[in-house]
Amino acid sequence: MRSAEEAMMAPHILIIEDNDMSFVLADYLLRQAGYSTSRALDGQAGVQAALQNVADLILCDLDLPLMDGYQVAGTLRKASGWRPVPLLAFTGDSPGDAHSESLARAAGFEGFIFKPVDARTFSATIARHIAPERRVD
């Protein structure tokens, strides 16, 4: 277990994901890699959590209740109270699905994490999107 102090120092990832299984795996891998995490269960809660501006990166499922991932991205990009951080789409679509990729990019996502996550590459992919001074080794 990490100490409270370490956890405060660790880069923070907000995971907006309604599916428990997807969340549990991503959450485990991120904590193993030294990040701290928090979760929102639907799009509206995700926007509220993002507007607290504590996350260094947001991982957002596209198929969410109440407000889908595209709307979450669109809302945040327009919100004056949001300090922009990397926003990654957490998607069950296959890599190379040009239609959903272009939709997600247009909505304001800067990258993709494809489900199910590959434990060997997941945290490295996240690290690439985190600001250099906030990366974990």
Binding site: D18, S22, L25, P65, L66, S94, P116, A119
Partner: protein
């Protein structure tokens, strides 16, 4: 393409239906019990135009009221309605919550004309089915697989031996199921994709496939390639066909002392080429020949030869899609021979070439 986000409508079945709706090549939308649109796809927007995007009923008026009310109480309906100068067929399907069985919305497919044929078309069924297979089956299986792998690699020292055995079965079981779903997706894809037939240089395809298989299986087997006439077929599928058959030949000669694989053709009737792939590997007992081309049928123990048992089912579908036939001859421990037909290049657009 999501309409005004409603609150409290997050049932799993409604979300699955929303996925199907957005993925459908046909105009489709989902209507909530209060008549508002939950989601719609791009073909829907194009078909009904802006006035249909706020209230589902607006473009249709009274025609749709009774069938929609019926669908909300659980009765499917097929309705023909006017939209400007067009007739549009609407198919209304209730979406029930898996747990409570309450209708949480209505899935509506729309198509110009009165036939409604498109709703049942193989392409749409395939798209929906493939979406379900990959999102609702494959993706969770892969997640389970990853979790089992992490448990095994990072936490197995804390588990009592009995628990490790179960974990091992869980890990292997999820991997196998995921492979089967993968194979099923390939198989279903074969049934719905239109054939893109051209003249195919079968010799060239076989050379490429052999090079790729040699890279994984090595040079142990001696391979003889005879004369292979051009076919008039879908090149990708012909490649898949030879890949399946030759991968089997390499696999089932793995334990053979002097493995030998031969690919060739024999004289056959006009319009058809007859090809064969023969090996001197494990073979099988001909009394099981009837099961050989079935999906997930395996002739050997998994400890002996790995695989899902989908390869020959896929091979047969490829041949059948081209109007051909495939049969097998074999003897246990003596090898197997697969003989199949494909349209000859001289029957297609290249007559006389």
């Amino acid at each position: 393409m999501t309409a005004a986000a409603p609150s409290g409508e997050g049932t799993a079945s409604l979300r699955t239906a929303a996925g199907l709706c957005l993925d459908s090549p046909f105009a489709a939308c989902i209507v909530l019990p209060d008549g508002r649109l939950h989601v719609f796809n791009e073909p829907y927007r194009v078909l009904v135009g802006a006035h249909g995007l706020t209230s589902f009923a607006a473009p249709w008026g009274q025609t749709i009221a009774a069938p929609l009310a019926g669908a909300l109480t659980g009765k499917s309906a097929l309705v023909a309605a006017r939209l400007g100068s067009d007739t549009v067929t609407l198919s209304l399907i209730p979406v029930r919550d898996d747990e409570t069985n309450v209708v949480s919305g209505v899935f509506v497919c729309l198509e110009k004309g009165t036939t409604g044929v498109g709703f049942d078309s193989a392409v749409q069924q395939f798209d929906s089915f493939r979406y379900t297979l990959s999102h609702d089956l494959l993706s969770p299986l892969r997640t389970l697989q990853e979790m089992a792998r992490i448990l095994e690699s990072e936490h197995s020292q804390h588990l009592p031996p009995d628990a490790s055995i179960f974990l091992n079965h869980l890990a292997q079981g999820t991997s196998k199921l995921a492979e089967r779903v993968d194979a099923l997706i390939s198989y279903v894809k074969l049934n719905a994709q239109p054939l893109n037939s051209h003249r195919v240089d079968v010799s060239r395809v076989v050379t490429d496939v052999l090079a790729a298989l040699r890279a994984t299986h090595g040079d142990k087997a001696s391979v003889i390639v005879g004369d292979l006439p051009d076919a008039y077929a879908d090149a990708d599928l012909v490649r898949q066909l030879f890949t399946r058959l030759l991968a089997n030949a390499f696999k089932f000669t793995r334990h053979t002392a002097a493995p030998r694989i031969e690919i060739g053709s024999v004289m056959s009737g006009p319009g058809q080429n007859t090809y064969f792939v023969v090996d001197n590997g494990a073979g099988f007992d001909m009394k099981y020949a009837g099961k050989l081309f079935g999906l997930f049928q395996r002739m050997h123990g998994e400890a002996q030869f790995e695989g899902t048992g989908a390869g020959l089912a896929i091979a047969r579908r490829i041949v059948e899609r081209h109007g051909g036939t495939i049969r097998a001859e074999a003897m246990k421990d003596q090898g197997a021979k697969f003989v199949f037909t494909l349209p000859s290049a001289s029957t297609g657009a290249y007559t006389g070439a």
